[in-house]
């Protein structure tokens, strides 16, 4: 879809004089809500669950951290429980060791967050993931109407795992360890494409090429990292929503809507919670651009 968007943007520039201006808008202030950001994976590194309070939209500082909570993830399949350590900055961390038993494909997990007598829970299942076969680079001249810098367009080769169920993936890419974190760069797919029916297929071009966001070409000696995170249908839909709500501009913007949440407040219905819990298996590869 990105190519189309680029093309339309270009077309609009050629034919018309559409423009965007930052303007002042007065907004109401909503009551703060607890936000639980719990995307945990099986990579042998520090796993993190982040708790914050929502803030006024125009507050020009990061959201306030929620401190002093307890965060646990329980493996419902094996019965083992893992406790995350409060870092005192909103982050609750767990160092996943090489021989760790946490984060197993096919296991079901339950997240429990306790804060000031309130208990928030969510359950999910960790699905299998696909592997990155190789990363491909292609040099492109710069200039032109879109005024892009010259550089390398990176793409990757990989295959969806064949099988009856639809596999959902979130493909995350990094340049020199920095995650491409714009909402519009969210690169997700169902099997090898966007709908069903691409079972066992290689990832189609918009997905394979999506690891290089528009206007973010790689240069010599950059390191390109690609990770394929397994997700489930609900997370896939959630990420579509995040993408839509953070890039909702232009002629074909949809009516803004609130992102869904899969975390429940089990103690009181009055305190609103927003957030997402997801356990992912990850296939990854890195390549030096040369």
């Amino acid at each position: 879809m990105k190519t189309i968007k680029l093309f339309f943007a270009l077309l609009t520039v050629i034919g018309f004089t559409s423009c965007e201006d930052v303007i002042q808008v007065k907004l109401d202030k909503g009551d703060p809500m607890i936000t639980i950001d719990a995307f945990v994976n099986d990579m042998r590194s520090q796993q993190k669950v982040r708790l914050t309070y929502s803030d006024d939209y125009f507050s020009q500082k990061p959201n306030e951290p929620v401190k002093g909570a307890t965060v646990k993830i329980k493996d419902l399949t094996s019965g083992l429980e893992y406790t995350f350590t409060d870092n005192n900055d909103g982050n609750y961390v767990y160092n996943l060791a090489t021989n760790d038993t946490m984060a197993r494909v096919g296991h079901n997990y339950e997240l429990t967050v306790t804060h000031q007598g309130l208990v928030f829970t969510s359950t999910t299942r960790m699905n299998r993931t696909a592997m990155v076969d190789s990363i491909i680079s292609e040099y492109k001249e710069g200039g032109g109407l879109s005024g892009m810098d010259p550089g390398y367009d990176m793409s990757f080769l990989g295959f969806d795992i064949p099988g009856d169920t639809i596999d959902y993936y979130w493909i995350k890419s990094y340049r020199n360890g920095v995650f491409f974190n714009k909402g519009g760069d969210i690169n997700i797919c169902a099997d090898g494409a966007f709908g069903n029916g691409a079972d066992g297929f290689p990832f189609i071009p918009p997905i394979a090429e999506g690891i290089t966001p528009f206007g973010e070409r790689f240069q010599k000696n950059d390191v390109c990292r690609v990770e394929i995170h397994s997700i489930n249908l609900e997370t896939y839909n959630f990420l579509i929503q995040v993408q839509t709500q953070t890039t909702n501009s232009g002629l074909f913007a949809t009516s803004p809507e609130n992102i869904k949440t899969n975390i429940k407040n089990t103690t009181s219905g009055k305190v609103k919670v927003v957030g997402w819990f997801c356990m992912s298996a990850v296939g990854f590869k890195e390549r030096l651009v040369e």
């Binding site: 020009q60 290689p202 803004p256």
Partner: protein
């Protein structure tokens, strides 16, 4: 209601007594080019007895035996007085000549001057193509849809949005007819230009209320566009070179006064101009395609006094591509047969085919990998329509219509590198819509005229297909599937029927003023599925199914019409109230494309719209034009959305002012100006931000939809037309039109959205998106010979 209609009907018919009366009938045509004239007033001199010509230029008038004078009157044309001696039924077809004065060419209403007072029509706007051509236009392209947006009660969500919204209705609630065939997407380049070639259009009529029984199938309005038949006297060529399009049309007689044709084409040419630049600057895009074109053709043959046949067709496409392809367009063809059974019974039999198609595809260069997706809506229809001119007091119109629909929401095929194909297509859907109607326009007295009718419509959602049953769930969530049942070809999955009463009343107070009342119920059996601000060419239509109910609208309109200064000024004040049932809405995060379980993501709710429309028009003189003001409100209530309270629809505009002025200085120069003011579109703004995975996401903690408004929209445009014509005898005539759109360079908000500052992602900001952010001048050269 129904009984009353029937009773009136029977009374109307049996009161008739035609023993000592005879009927005079025939066609009225333009002396210059043989085009049928629509809406010529035909009346008995010094009386209230009269009629007007129909869409095909036919009239029938029953008068008492004896000598009389019949007057044919049409604004901009010389009035004809014909002495008749009625001793039997007779035919009188005639040609009317334009008035010599060039300035009279510009007429706002090409009707008898006080027709707005006397006719049954209310909430109706007619635009003369000659006038549309003088109005300032975006990039100088004369545009019918854009002109319609300057009428009271008509709005748009902004530049670049296709279609138009009538009295708070969605764009799919307008029945857009091109020579009787429905058009599903009336736009080129999203919504910047409309698909109707002005060189081929003869008559444009928009009906917003009191919709007569012969029209049906859409909830809000009818836009009836009639194409020219083609000059039957001599060959005529029209053309133009504009900023966007080049146009050419040729019309000529095949058999003088008997048969003629018109062929008109347009093509945009920005791609041709851009090609050398692209090849040099952006080799990636050197094969980029971006153009749009349309072709309109019509042929008519007057076989004899009683039979005329018409064949017309339209084909248009927008083509975009660059490593991918994306194109869409309509094709329609209509066959019509006018038959006069006798001087009192006129028939038009129409058969049409219409196909709206779009294609989207990606292809990986150097491998066989590709993705291809096409979607169609195909219609076949037959519509016999009869007008029975019973007597001077009753005109009965009756007929029927049958439409067969095939919806192909998405045929999608993925081809892998090794050539394996995977089909992720959606099931086709089939439907049949039938309707029968009858109405009578009855003159109860010299002052009191009433038109009453009934349309009965049926819709049959047919197999072959799958009948899905869904369980109920929490509001605003996708409904879970309960069961699927395969249905065989032609099997009924779900059937609907709706009686649709129609009523119009005219009480003429005097020659200068009248009061009109209208009521109509309309039912609509297909819905556009779109949750974007501007409708996109990718939007699909869905028929009503066992899960989706038909949209029903009831509208009451009351109006006061008054003319001043010998019909120099026409004014009207109308109020309307419209109630809608089963308006389509969407659950959060609805998946509308390539989704076989689409119905699970749809919800239906209530709607209401009401307003006041004030209108003043100067129809004659060097300075003419109109000013209109609309005060209105449009709301919706849907289960699970916006805390289940009434919320403003995105088409709500509290205030809407439109001004169109045209000043004809002399034979050479004419000037025009528009001014538009609209209250900003309702919008949903966030009240908080949440942080997840490094993304800063706007959030509305009150969960209220359309809790804010965008800034008001206003704009002025001007146009200057210079006529090169030295004298009337020269065959080659040309004009040059200079226009400036968005004269005072306002950046109107199409939308306001919220984002992180691209350079300082920690900072959140509001951004106004303006589709047009500068003054847009344009020049167009038109010629004719």
């Amino acid at each position: 209601m129904k009984k009353l209609v029937l009773l009136l009907f029977i009374c109307g018919i049996f009161k008739a007594n035609a023993q000592d009366k005879f009927t005079i009938s025939g066609y009225a045509k333009d002396a210059k080019n043989g085009e049928a004239l629509i809406g010529v007033t035909v009346y008995k001199k010094n009386s209230q007895t009269g009629t007007s010509t129909n869409e095909y230029g036919f009239y029938s008038l029953t008068l008492p035996k004896g000598q009389d004078t019949v007057v044919f009157s049409f604004v901009g044309y010389k009035t004809l007085y014909k002495a008749v001696n009625l001793i039997s039924n007779q035919t009188l077809s005639l040609e009317m000549a334009e008035e010599g004065k060039e300035l009279e060419e510009v007429v706002i209403s090409s009707e008898r001057e006080d027709k707005n007072i006397k006719s049954m029509e209310m909430s109706v706007a007619k635009l003369d193509i000659k006038q549309i051509q003088k109005m300032p236009a975006l990039l100088g392209e004369v545009d019918i849809i854009k002109s319609i947006q300057l009428l009271p009660g008509v709005t748009t969500v902004g530049e670049g949005a296709s279609g138009f919204n009538v009295r708070g209705g969605n764009i799919d609630q307008n029945l857009v007819l091109m020579d009787e065939a429905p058009v599903y997407n009336s736009s080129h380049l999203f919504g910047f230009f409309s698909i109707f070639n002005p060189d081929a259009v003869k008559d444009v009529k928009l009906i917003k209320g009191g919709i007569p029984a012969q029209y049906g199938g859409r909830a809000s309005s009818v836009l009836d566009i009639r194409m020219k038949e083609g000059n039957s006297k001599k060959m005529e060529v029209n053309g133009g070179i504009g900023t966007i399009f080049s146009r050419l049309s040729i019309e000529a007689p095949i058999l003088k006064d008997k048969a003629s044709f018109i062929v008109a084409g347009r093509r945009s040419y920005i791609d041709i101009l851009a090609k050398p630049v692209l090849a040099k600057q952006q080799p990636d895009l050197k094969d980029a395609k971006f153009y749009f074109y349309d072709l309109t053709a019509k042929f008519n043959w007057r076989i004899n006094d009683k039979n005329t046949v018409f064949a017309s067709g339209y084909f248009g496409r927008d083509v975009f591509g660059a490593g991918f392809k994306f194109n869409w367009g309509n094709s329609t063809s209509t066959l019509r047969w006018n038959h006069i059974f006798n001087s009192k019974l006129f028939m038009n039999m129409s058969a049409f085919y219409s196909n709206y198609k779009y294609e989207l595809g990606f292809k990986d260069e150097g491998s066989s990998q590709k993705f291809e997706w096409t979607s169609n809506i195909i219609n076949y229809s037959v519509k016999p329509d009869f007008t029975y001119y019973l007597n001077s007091k009753n005109t009965i119109r009756f007929g029927a219509q049958g439409i067969l629909y095939t919806f192909k929401p998405g045929t999608a095929i993925i081809t892998s590198q090794d050539g394996n194909k995977s089909n992720i297509s959606m099931d086709y859907q089939y439907g049949a819509e039938y309707a029968a109607y009858i109405d009578n326009e009855q003159k109860l007295s010299n002052r009191f005229t009433i038109q009453y009718g009934l349309r009965w419509s049926f819709f049959n959602y047919l197999g072959k297909g799958t009948k899905y049953t869904y369980r109920d769930t929490i509001p605003n969530e996708s409904r879970p599937l309960d069961s699927e049942e395969k249905m065989g070809p032609g099997e009924t999955i779900k059937m609907y029927n709706n009686p649709e009463p129609r009523l119009a009343v005219n009480y003429t107070i005097n020659d200068k003023s009248s009061i009109k009342l209208g009521y109509n119920r309309m039912s609509q059996y297909l819905h556009i599925v779109s949750n974007t601000a501007a409708s996109t060419p990718l939007d699909i239509y869905t028929p009503v199914t066992n899960n989706i109910k038909p949209l029903i609208s009831d509208q009451v309109t009351l109006g006061y019409f008054r003319n001043f200064k010998d019909n120099m000024f026409e004014t009207s004040a109308e109020v309307y109230y419209k109630n809608l049932q089963n308006q389509l809405d969407y659950v959060d995060n609805a998946n509308l494309l390539l989704n076989n379980y689409l119905e699970a993501d749809l919800v239906q709710g209530k709607g209401r719209a009401y307003g006041l429309e004030l209108y003043i028009k100067k129809a004659k003189g060097k300075l003419n034009g109109w000013v209109s003001y609309t005060l209105s409100k449009t709301e919706r209530q849907v289960r699970g959305i916006s805390n289940e309270e009434w919320f403003l629809s995105k088409y709500d505009r509290t205030h809407n002012v439109n001004t169109v002025l045209i000043y004809d200085l002399n034979k050479r120069w004419s000037f025009s100006a528009n001014f538009v003011y609209q209250t900003g579109t309702p919008a949903t703004f966030p009240t908080a931000k949440v942080e997840l995975q490094g993304y800063v996401i706007p959030y509305n903690t009150d969960n209220k939809r359309n809790n804010y408004r965008n800034t008001p929209y206003h704009r002025a445009d001007i146009g200057i037309t210079y006529n090169f014509k030295k004298n009337d005898t020269r065959r080659w005539k040309s004009t040059i039109v200079l226009s400036v759109y968005n004269l005072y360079n306002r950046r109107n908000a199409f939308s306001i959205y919220f984002r992180n500052n691209p350079d300082y992602p920690i900072n959140t900001e509001a951004v106004r998106y303006s589709v047009i952010g500068s003054i847009i001048p344009a020049i167009t050269y038109n010629f004719k010979f």
